[in-house]
Symmetry: C2
Subunit: 142 residues, 2 copies
DNA sequence: GGAGGACAGTTCGTTTTACGAACCCAGGAG
DNA sequence: CTCCTGGGTTCGTAAAACGAACTGTCCTCC
């Protein structure tokens, strides 16, 4: 967890990723949506690319010179639950004036939410139902 | 989401909460576990209390003077999925040398994981299966 | 009753980081 | 040839984080 935060815990990283999930790909659009200083944005996009969370893909729009855009990798897509978790908490407790975003299952149209589920199929409602069990490190030596 | 990050997105906040979920309650213990500067810790604990994520509870251990400890509120407990999301991503991609923590359902003993589920009961495997639908703000007017 | 020791902080000076504004460069459009 | 846009870089300043030292209260031990 500490490691994850070291990777995406800097000030704008997760917001950049949110925009990426919403389809933003170009530098200027990130900048407009977030209002972050360009220098910071350059740095954040750079580290996200370094970490393999985003890719820089060259592309060429008609009648424009070559540019590159930023797209999520699988590693980046797997951060989705984190974003959703932050979003759901915010929707529940912060009651922003900004409209929340509903998520629906593309296949069936039902609303989607994030839940803790156990391999027996129960869905848990509270953190209290979870017991943390420290694991031995993956030691291969005797 | 931006709001959530404004609340818990500062540098040590989520790590403090992780420790809180693992049962840490006292200032000195947080400090020892995290190695954060005391000034920062004071500040983070303060804002978390202000935000109603932690409570400061006075208590008195046998043969000690009165102290106060920090405990999670419901609002704080509801951040658990966020922490789990960060943890699972880290376990998957970061392969720290530190031992991961397994989570099991207190009732049935099965491992617990975080998943996106829709109200029809499907569990989704990828962010791609989700369609974000912008909501109108909660306007009560016509 | 005085010394020493947690515990829970403050205070202070230094180093990082974020911020905002200005500047730079390339390619197309007019 | 000049202007505009996209994607940056380079400043100087303002805000955080850091680490070490200092404060104060109560408790135990001598």
């Amino acid at each position: 967890m500490a490691g994850t935060l070291a990777v995406v815990g800097e000030k704008w990283s997760l917001l950049v990723l949110r925009e990426a999930f919403l389809g933003v790909r170009r530098f200027a659009d990130f900048q407009r949506q977030l209002g972050a200083p360009k220098a910071v944005l350059t740095d954040r996009l750079g580290t996200l690319v370094e970490q393999g969370i985003l890719r820089r893909v060259p592309y060429q729009a008609a009648g424009e010179r070559q540019r590159h855009e930023y797209r999520l990798t699988t590693k980046g897509l797997d951060l989705y639950p984190t974003l959703v978790a932050l979003m759901q908490w915010g929707d529940k407790y912060l009651a922003d004036d900004v409209a929340p975003l509903a998520l629906e299952h593309r296949d069936c149209g039902s609303p989607v939410h994030l839940g803790l589920v156990c391999d027996d199929g129960h869905e848990l409602t509270s953190a209290r139902e979870v017991r943390p069990v420290p694991q031995a490190a993956a030691v291969t030596a005797s």
